[in-house]
Subunit: 218 residues, 2 copies
DNA sequence: CGTGTATTTATACGCTTGCATAATTAGAGC
DNA sequence: GCTCTAATTATGCAAGCGTATAAATACACG
């Protein structure tokens, strides 16, 4: 076993696994030291790989960063959708669960904000990234608008597209704004306070109750 | 005028002027190419100064960046406060004007978002930045809470601190969220749509009218 | 009209970065 | 077990970074 200046031993991994590992390592770096801390060498170190390999899987570093961004956004979307799947049937419960999921762990997390903010900074300069972002945003808002529509109907309220569009914009703003506050300074809020505040505000905006079981309201 | 390899001519400026110029140049860089584009050399170029001078006025580059961040936040705060000064006496009109100012030009601007996002990315890693941000955020929210309290009282509604706090959190989220949407994709909204949506949402949350003149409501 | 000094320029150093490329090797297929 | 190739390591480079420091100069003051 005496080895002086030996090469690093390695295993060949599947392409998918390696990409995932590299993305995960990137997210670790960003989480700990911000976007500036995500250098190819540091990422490689975390992935237990040498720096050169990154370029084997990603044409340039920015492609890896972009993939990492998409992974985070996708992960958040999936987590919110998961909350929907395990929710009750009543549309109001579903909207309630959706909001709570977005305003609680693990979605409302400073690490997510760091990556998101870093990426937003690039959006302004890179049109391709701007497009990717807009798609994500509109997708989220469309999902929200559908939930709102069903909740309104379940409460016996009209749900014209003209109104649901504006409602979706407002509710989306409430979620985004509270998410932001929670990510940036979660410690100055009580446990669950932001989620409760969000639910109450959305109830007021939509003029319906999102807790049809307990607090009955037509 | 024949000069080969002459030194750059310069004028001595007051300390305040130089600091302001350097900060302005920094903001230009960040707005155009993100935080990564704000290098000492590029900043110096924009300020029509050589790079070394930056360190004469700021101990390190990060100090300049921090000063620039504070300048942006301060500028937005001042702009919003200006809108208050030229508003009517009725507290509901004042809150209305405050919201409209934050959801219109020049505050709701992609450049401001770029700056803000770039800095927010650092907040997570740099404790000093985090403190600066928290102060700004709490200052904004406090101002908002005072406005809300007065508006509620003017409408004959109770304004207990327990409630105004939560209202301030929610209204702040609405403003932040809509500001974000407008900065990121202002072109997909009609003129004034976001401001109107914000006013309507806030009216719903506070259960008062913010247009006491025209649309009378107790 | 000199003179002193605070301000500004100029230059260079040591690091780190992203990227390219050559050398190696693990592991599948025959 | 051999062989071939795709995956991985290792090395180096050119560029750009922040910072330190010495040299130059504008300009207030006497």
């Amino acid at each position: 076993m005496k080895q002086t200046a030996t090469r690093k031993s390695f295993r060949r991994e599947g392409e998918d696994k390696r990409r995932e590992d590299l993305i995960a390592a990137t997210l670790e770096c960003v989480a700990e030291r911000g976007l500036a801390g995500a250098t190819v060498r540091e990422i490689a170190l975390r992935a237990d790989v040498t720096a050169g390999l990154i370029r084997y899987y990603f044409p340039a570093k920015d492609d890896l960063i972009g993939a990492a961004y998409r992974a985070v956004m996708n992960r958040m979307t999936v987590q919110a959708s998961d909350a929907l799947k395990s929710a009750a049937d009543d549309p109001r419960d579903r909207l309630n669960a959706f909001v709570k999921a977005n305003l609680g762990q693990p979605i409302m997390d400073p690490n997510n904000l760091s990556l998101w903010a870093g990426f937003i900074g690039m959006v302004h300069a890179d049109p391709a990234m701007a497009l990717a972002h807009r798609d994500g945003y509109l997708g989220f808002r469309d999902e929200l608008e559908a939930l709102i529509r069903e909740a309104l109907l379940a409460a016996g309220k009209p749900a014209e597209p003209i109104h649901t569009r504006r409602h979706a914009i407002a509710v989306n703003a409430i979620i985004d704004g509270l998410w932001l506050e929670g990510c940036l300074a979660g410690d100055i809020f009580a446990e669950g306070e932001l989620a409760e505040t969000g639910i109450a505000a959305i109830e007021a905006v939509l003029a319906i109750s999102l807790n049809p079981e307990k607090g009955g309201a037509i």
